[in-house]
Amino acid sequence: MATNFRELIEIPIGPWVESGVDWVRDNLAGPLDGFAAGVGFLADGLESLLLVLPDWILAPLIIAFAWWRVGWRFGLFALIAMFLIAAMGLWRETMQTLALVIGASIIALAAGLPLGIAMARRDGVATVIRPVLDFMQTMPPFVYLIPAAIFFGLGKVPGTIATVIFAMPPAVRLTNLGIRQVSQENVEAGLAFGCTSRQLLYKVQIPLAMPSIMAGINQTIMLALSMVVIASMIGAGGLGNTVLTGIQRLDVGLGFEGGLGVVFLAILLDRMTQSFGLRRRRD
């Protein structure tokens, strides 16, 4: 009797994945490089945009935005958060993280929203995409770091790409769900008044699915933030680096400061993006 199942049957899933990765790297180097260059351009551009403005200009802008979108209490919270971040000396890292989150979210939404729409309109697309999304969401996020690092090396580009993959599913799912949940009679109303299928999408389905779509966008941004911290392990930089350094040096204080910066950023992003999900009136 074999004591170990593996001695009887050995399916080399690990090696297969490795050789697949090798093949991609050898044969698709050109497209991969082009893609990496595009992502790099976006990530660098956003980062320098946020860093070129001094904190005494950017912070008031963020505070004013928080006040306008949510309310004066939240504006006050933003003021305190900005002050503490600057006082901890983490302004630069926070902006780097913010740039990564924004860059990854833009890419995730640019791909995710159309994909969600396609899923809603064609059952066939939905059948194919749904298991892929399940896979993407249940895989532990660290796993994405490995292929991202293999294909794109270390730095912001693989960090952004791993983040995109991790953060995209909610935008796809909730867009699909939102459109499918538009009531039958509303769709019929659109058609009965002579909508073409494009008009139906833009004038009826998307507007009525908007609360759900906005919830998906919010979740994608929040996931992007959590992944960006993890992605600092492959050199994405930002607040994740601060936390990582804290862990490596067993420096509780530094780790906590980095963590606090992430929490502030999370609360600010969450409330401000949610404020767009509520229907605006009388404008």
Partner: protein, 398 residues
Amino acid sequence: MSAKITVENLYKVFGPDPDEGMRLLEQGLDKGAIFEKTGNTVGVRDASFSIEEGEIFVVMGLSGSGKSTIVRMLNRLIDATAGRVLIDDRDVNALSRNELIELRRRDMSMVFQSFALMPHKTVLQNAAFGLEVAGVDQETREERANKAIEQVGLKANARSYPDELSGGMQQRVGLARALAVDPSIMLMDEAFSALDPLIRTEMQDELVALQREHRRTIVFISHDLDEAMRIGDRIGIMEGGSVVQVGTPEEIVSNPANEYVRSFFYGVDVTRVYNAADIADRRQVTVLERPGVSMRSALERLYAGSRDLAVVLDRDQKYLGTVTAESLAAQIDGAGEPRYADAFVTDVEPVDATTPLAEVVARSASNRLPLPVIDEQGLYVGSITRAAVLRTLDRSGE
């Protein structure tokens, strides 16, 4: 009158294999058996009828009888499995995609049970929806939408959002949206079913009033008989996907095609279906007032027939008055030249032919003499006895 919409042998089978369903229908299987055997649902089965230009045609039937399916085949929100729908003699099923969109934009609009308004648009923008879709420029469409909003009495709310309005007001917006495109046909699927009873009758009356202003062909779905009677020029009754009877409310009430149709009218308030002319008869003695025919001979006719009442008409059948044997005798025996006019009983007022039965009932209760019925020219139509009223009322409780 010409047919605006003609439905010919229309079928709809839902499910995995509609053709199989059609084959079994041909073999004479019924809806239940076909579903059991194949999982296909027969929505509409061999429906044929036509709807005249300018009439309100009510489709009535129990839940699941195929009402929604049949109206949706008129504008092809649902594609028919077999049969034809002709609108102005054009076969809807044969239209190309673009022709169909054109037809929906120009000729037909729809009002929904759940209102189906766009929550992110104002009342005005909602009313302008059909025009917006058709590519009408903003200024024109707002002008036309404003007019429609005014027609339904919502002018003050043009800038409100739907969720700021009551259900009745929301459906007015739905109605305005349908009116704004100025269609010749309006399809209304249980349009008033979600409204509470008071608002509901108000909307029904309003629809009839709008129809008086500008006649359109309206296909109105309802499962409420009172509603059907109130607004319908004609009613089509559906049972299990088939149209079992088409006719005016009176025709259907007085001559139901089968038990199913009869069951609909069980307990129906006939006082709203019938009017005075429907139950008047000409069995009363009538006498003509003309020179040379003496009142005495009239009295003798009454005695001979042991009747005690006569209706007096002029030569053109115009109603003059009612006399009783008593009043005739008193007049003949009295002093001076006897005249019919002096013998008329004063407590009998003629009723108009179009008076609803409900009102007739009230009047006959306070008057023991038969009520004469006259038409709009004042001509005698017949009389209504209390017995006739009671007989009609009794029939509704069968």
